[in-house]
Amino acid sequence: MIAEAGLAALWLAAGLAALQFVLMVLSLRIQFDGARSMRSIAVVQGLLTLVAFAMLLIVFARSDMSVALVFENSSAVKPFIYKVAGAWGNHEGSMLMWVTILAIAGAFVALLAHRTSERTLVAALGAQAVLALGFYAFLLFASNPFARLWPAPPDGQGLNPLLQDPGLAFHPPTLYLGYVGLSVAFSLAVGALLTGEVDSRLARAMRPWVLGAWILLTLGITAGSYWAYYELGWGGYWFWDPVENASLMPWLAATALLHSINVLAARGALKAWTMMLAVIAFSMSMVGTFLVRSGILTSVHAFAIDPERGTFLLALLAIYVGAAFILFAVRGATLKEGAPFELVSRESGLVVNNLILSIVLGVVFVGTLYPLFVEAVSGEKLSVGAPYFNAVAGPLALILAALVGVGPLLAWRRERRPVFGQLTIPALLGTSALVITIVLWPGMHILPRLGFTVAAYLVAASILPLVNRNPFRAPLATWGMVVAHFGIAIALLGMAANAAFTSERLAIAKPGDTLTVGPWLVLLNDVTPTAGKNWTAVEAELRATRGANVVTLKPQTRYFSDPPAETNESAIRTFWNGQLYTVVGKPDASGAWQLRLWWKPFVTLIWAGGVLIALGGALALLGRLWRLFWRRRADADWHRERYA
């Protein structure tokens, strides 16, 4: 019964979404006021999907093997947390989670959006309903999560052991929340293009959604990068893998949107461009989902592959993005550009920011899809790897980081003061970093050298917006910006240090041998077999010494039998000034072992920077919501006094 209730809730929600769309058309075409009913429908629709999702959680928690999805993806003996997480650790369940989040976001738009005009809200809710309808159809016709099995089998087939990781229980929800936030920006943009009301009110309504989505995407990318670093055992933090790029592209678009939306909110300028970015940001998240789900690009996420579902997703992508682009092409001309600005102004700073981010986005996009085009045209197979991305995106990112220090100092509309005077100390810091690296490490590669220079300059330049004023009276949004920009400097420092100073040692060692890596002396003490629940392993015991510091690390090579797989469990020890990273490989015929040792100075700054960037976003979001709350309270008070 539970599964049927879930399915019924899903059908009802789909029906309501259709009704919501019809009401939008009626409201915009004829003189019909559908706004109130659309708001209620959006809320009920959100609740219904929540019911459907709760039903799925219940059948998974109870291990109801008569539901095909549970049988295929769970087993009665799994730990409870993975039973529940198993509900979205598969295609159908994750799509249900996606529509649930989408519908709940729609409900919040209906409840909270008082900033846009009624007409734009109606159009946006209609657009949101169309988005949801496509995914309801996908679920109900192509991937029903509640399909039954008769007779019910006694036990399930279990979950891919690689997915039994606490991180993977939270990874999809975080990502989906981010994508859905961008879908709201998309719907609002489409709604505003339909009504022609692209103005600063719209930007203020859109901003919290973009900010929220951007925070989650930032955290998702940072966490994904750390996962790849410790789990894959290759010692790198970014591999330019197609799936990594698929997560980076929506982030780049969202970052650009986040900045241009401020121009629209504050000055009413950059209308068409901001709408375009809102469409592109969501398109990129759909492209990402498509690339991962269809498996057309080979990558580490190959477990999610299904070509038929890929076709369905591609059709949805073509319809939604195509429709939005057509709308943009037709309506874009009617948008009047807002307040003018001069060459040296906050606005032009943000335009430059947007241009560079868009170029980087283009570079990543082309690099990711280029092999596909080449093969389609000439039949030749090739792959685009880190050398291309680093060589092209690296310098652009450095230029952008350098400008991050300048932009926030510029005034809106027209900058009269000599801004560069304020940058004396940051410039001095940057120059000294450059001189120091040239004197001490003349052989250093140009990119890390410039990385140190820009990072040293930006550490100081990023906090300038809080200098010369009482920092405690600055708005939270300003604090957020400063923290996020400071985070960029920190992450850049980590990347430069990692690129310039990593020591790597790849050696064959017998127990009793000592190796040096960076400042460390590493003794291979012993190699012993060990075993876990569904794996066996060889475990090396390494004793690392640096001065008085002695630590023991135990890297493993694990062999899983069902399905057969081999993983390297690296052992990592973090110190204030870096990480010691060790991997044990296979033995050779003489009883010696392959060891890979890295000393990575200040590598943790990369992820610390990522977290700071997200934290900055969170501060800004908090500030915006806080203001919204007080302004509404003040309005209410004013009303009460006036009409009491």
Partner: protein, 175 residues
Amino acid sequence: MSRTIRFAPLALLLLIIVALIWRLATPSDTNVHSTLEGKAVPAFALSAILPNKPPLSSADLANGQPHLVNVFASWCVPCITEVKVLQTLKDSGVSVEGIAIRDRPADLTQFLASNGDPYDRIGSDPQSQVQISLGSSGVPESFIVDGKGVIRYQHIGPIERSDIGLILSKLEQAR
């Protein structure tokens, strides 16, 4: 904003959609094709590893007959099942040659005694030098070499029972 620019994103989208549809319709060929296919076997002369087995050199392969050259080792687990399939091929008249990678005579004798010995010749490649020059990255792998000593096919991984038809047809083509 000019009309052309406003329609540019749409055109770009269409282009990308077409490419993606093409990819979905023609899934990529995941088989690895050796770049050495169609080229002569690099010259080598391996010494014998067992006293009762003649050694293998590239000259032995260019004798007018097609050969199946199997890169294997006694320490390789999939090779145990593969060697039985090779025996079936041998029984149907295929000439099978072996290159033993990083092997020891005692281990190899033991391996052949317990699993069967389909090999006409076995060369010893203690440092994987010939294996690398052949473009082979692991064991087991097999090469079909025609009578002129030209590589016609590279098979990565063990030859399974289900591959027998494929191997025989490749050998027929190499004749």
